[in-house]
């Protein structure tokens, strides 16, 4: 299974953020979407998640290399984890999971609620507290957890490690790595080190276009300089 972005254009007024964007993402891999602040990473995700409308282009799933076999994206195909965790703060963690599982009648959970909590390393004494009182990291884990339960084909992770402490960040990285099989994972970040550490491939979002970076170069000593040079605006040079 592949996820294809084709000729995607998105403008805010006269400013074109995504310019004829195109890329093919493969199942079972983690893609690091790397770009500068304001380069359009969140805009791209919001377009895919139907949160904002785009000007032109399309995205679809493709089974194998059969270019004719376009499979349209359904809302349930997408899991979206945003950098500022958004969870219904008036519910406890347990109540939120119960609600989430109940409204997803099509899902057959393979674990009990407590097993899910254990999987995400959410402490027992947090599970029956309202989500408002959760730490930033635990809220992030909750957000990740419901997306894991929903088993979407495409997982969009918008800077999910931002402002997490070292331990929680490592735990989250492990969860993301464990979840990559059977999913297409796109992980956006503006931190090069995080992208290199976690992702199988790196895609640059630069000047409104998606550009692949040769994965064989990941280990090169001057790799960082090349990326920085690629991301640097012509005006900066």
């Amino acid at each position: 299974m592949e996820f294809v972005i084709s000729h995607l254009v998105k403008s805010y007024g006269s400013k074109q953020v995504l310019k004829d964007c195109g890329f093919v993402f493969e199942e079972g891999r983690i893609y690091g979407l790397l770009g500068r602040n304001g380069s359009g990473k969140t805009t791209l995700f919001n377009c895919i998640n139907s949160d904002i409308e785009f000007n032109s282009g399309e995205f679809y799933f493709r089974d194998g290399k059969d270019s004719a076999g376009k499979i349209a994206l359904q809302p349930e195909d997408i899991g979206y984890v945003v950098s500022t965790p958004t969870v219904p703060e008036f519910m406890t963690g347990r109540e939120f999971l119960k609600f989430f599982i109940e409204v997803h009648e099509e899902i057959t959970p393979d674990k009990t609620i407590d097993e899910y909590f254990d999987y995400m390393m959410i402490p027992e004494d947090d599970r029956d507290r309202i989500l408002r009182d959760y730490s930033h990291g635990t809220k992030n884990k909750m957000q990740m957890l419901v997306n894991i339960i929903a088993k979407p084909r495409l997982m969009l992770l918008d800077e999910p490690l931002t402002s997490l402490d070292v331990i929680v960040a490592e735990e989250m990285k492990n969860v993301i790595r464990n979840q990559k099989d059977g999913h297409i994972t796109i992980f956006s970040t503006h931190l090069l080190d995080v992208a290199v550490d976690l992702c199988d491939e790196i895609v640059l979002l630069n000047h409104g276009k998606l550009e692949p970076i040769d994965k064989n170069n990941l280990g090169d000593s001057d790799f960082k300089e090349k990326i920085i040079a690629a991301l640097r605006d012509e005006d900066d040079a």
Partner: protein, 579 residues
């Protein structure tokens, strides 16, 4: 020096105000569906339009001067005029000319009016967006800024009051009253500002935050509301404050005003800055207000005692309502019910007791002598309904038609809007990032649950309105036809259905909130205004209650059907987090 500061700072403030106003207007337009897409970014820097806006801004400032300041003082003069002619015609103060009585009442009412203004609205330290920018970002001297804006307000008031003068002199106001009142106004304002400044100095010494307490503001408001009718009834019945006492008050206030000026002059810039920083005097700065509002919505009651045995979206809604019980149900419903019960009893006692004890004539005379009638309803005649010229019939007419139609929307508007705010900030805002939440069938499932829930919240105050209306009908001769009392309840229900649907559907169709609960959608605000105006116009058309019944029921059914269809069609696109 002070004058130089004034002329240096004021243009900057007015310029900043116009920039904020212009940019907010363009921003709101750009966020409006259809129109927004046609508006280019370069509109933000179009000099020509900025000049046009700047002209409108000046017109607005002048308009505020004429309408705002003059409306208040006009009420004072009108009250004095009506009372002086009534007092003279009944010769209630022998030996005093009508003009002198006019002057006495004008001064007396003005002192009251100005003191109430000082009590409720002394805004020299009030935090506003422009003060925020100028003091905390550009680091302008807070004292100079506050004093400049205060002087500007005083100037506008002074001119406004003088402009009303010639008309008042023509209707009998003595010349000296016209001359004295604007000066007195400035002095009372200075007294208020000086007093507040002194209070802040003392609070600062005790390291307390420089702001008014919310409870204090409510207390002052309630005190004023309770005091005024009492005072008016006293005056109507011939009890007045004699001229020498009024003049003594004027002298005392003038002295206090001069002291206030010097207190204000000696207040240092640090205190001004600290007062602005501690802010929230009567907080109006939109960003801070939004944060405060948002924080108030975050007060979630979750002590483990509220559980639910429902499933799915019913479960979500049940927990949401139970955990926001105080905000969603207890507070607005209790408030509406208490207000309406008081209102019902006031009207009921007002009419029924006099009617029972003294008969219709005495009741009519009493009501006729009431200030409300004297000022507002005297000579009232309805063109469509055959009514006697009496307050007695007026209240009956109100109960049958207008009063009811006005109370129900007012009580519900606050509840419904607060509910949608709470829904967004504590629930939908977070769940909207999940794709399942934006699926059409899921949206409609939750929409229907919420519609029922809002109905439950809105029906009690509407029914209390119905009881109030029925009480008045009962006390003023009973129902005109069988089941009229029941009809009142059915109309209430139909109105609740329509209004509730409108509030909820508008939320789903426009989703006007950003990350705070502040409305950021021009289209939503416009739709709400248009809808409210239509409702107000329709409800104030005098019609027989059976016609009202038929119309409200048919409209309610049609409206629910149409709005559900619209929400079902559009909400998957419109009901989302605003970027």
């Amino acid at each position: 020096m002070m004058l130089k500061d004034f002329f240096t700072i004021l243009p900057k403030v007015l310029h900043l105000r116009s920039i904020i106003g212009y940019n907010s207007l363009v921003f709101a337009l750009k966020k409006t569906p259809v129109i927004g897409k046609m508006i280019p970014d370069r509109l933000y820097k179009t000099a020509f339009l900025k000049v046009i806006y700047w002209i409108f801004h000046i017109i607005k400032e002048v308009g505020a001067l004429f309408i705002g300041k003059m409306a208040g003082i006009s009420c004072v003069y009108i009250a004095a005029w009506v009372l002086s002619s009534a007092y003279k015609s009944h010769d209630m103060i022998p030996g005093m000319s009508e003009s002198s009585i006019f002057g006495m009442f004008a001064l007396f009412f003005f002192i009251l009016y100005a003191l109430i203004g000082v009590l409720l609205n002394t805004n020299i330290f009030k935090k506003t967006p422009e003060k925020d920018y100028l003091v905390f970002m550009i680091r302008m001297d807070a004292k100079k800024l506050n004093n400049t804006l205060f002087a500007y307000e005083l100037g506008k008031m002074f001119i406004g009051y003088y402009l009303v003068g010639p008309v008042t002199v023509l209707i009998g106001c003595p010349f000296w009253a016209w001359l004295v009142i604007p000066f007195l106004a400035v002095l009372i304002k200075l007294f208020g500002a000086g007093f507040l400044s002194l209070r802040y100095k003392m609070m600062s010494k005790k390291h307390k935050p420089l702001r008014n307490s919310y409870a204090g503001d409510v207390f002052k408001l309630v005190a004023v509301i309770l005091l005024m009718p009492f005072l008016m009834i006293m005056i109507i019945n011939g009890y007045y404050v004699p001229m020498p006492v009024v003049i003594a008050c004027v002298i005392l206030l003038a002295i206090l005003g001069i002291i206030g000026f010097f207190v204000l002059k000696n207040t240092d810039a640090t205190l001004h800055r600290k007062a602005l920083h501690d802010g929230h005097v009567v907080e109006k700065a939109s960003a801070v207000e939004a944060k405060n509002q948002t924080r108030s919505f975050k007060k979630i009651k979750a002590d483990g005692s509220f559980k639910s045995d429902k499933k799915g979206f019913e479960y979500l809604n049940d927990l949401f309502v139970k955990r926001h019980r105080k905000m969603l149900i207890m507070k607005p419903v209790a408030f509406s019910v208490i207000m309406l019960v008081i209102l019902a009893f006031v009207i009921y006692l007002f009419i029924a007791c006099y009617y029972e004890d003294n008969g219709a004539d005495a009741c009519r005379n009493m009501v006729m002598n009431n200030l409300v009638n004297l000022f507002t309803f005297k000579g009232f005649k309805d063109p469509l309904v055959n009514l006697e010229d009496s307050s007695f019939q007026f209240f009956r007419w109100c109960a049958s038609f207008q009063l009811f139609g006005l109370l129900v929307p007012i009580t519900m508007a606050e509840n419904s809007f607060k509910c949608t705010q709470a829904m967004y900030i504590n629930c939908d805002n977070s769940l909207m990032t999940f794709s399942f939440f934006k699926k059409r069938e899921m949206i409609m499932k939750l929409f229907d649950i919420r519609f029922k829930q809002l109905l439950k919240i809105n029906l009690p105050p509407a029914f209390v309105s119905a009881i109030a209306a029925n009480l008045v009908l009962f006390a003023t001769g009973g129902q005109e036809y069988p089941f009229q009392y029941l009809v009142t309840f059915i109309i209430a229900t139909a109105m609740v259905v329509t209004y509730t649907m409108s509030w909820l559907a508008l939320y789903y169709l426009f989703q006007p909130f950003t990350t705070t609960v502040t409305v950021k959608s021009g289209a939503y605000a416009a739709a709400r205004t248009v809808f409210s105006i239509i409702i107000a116009i329709v409800m104030w058309i005098p019609a027989h209650s059976l016609i009202v019944l038929a119309v409200t029921v048919v409209v309610a059914v049609l409206f629910v059907f149409i709005m559900r269809k619209l929400v079902s069609k559009n909400a998957p696109k419109t009901w989302r987090v605003k970027a």
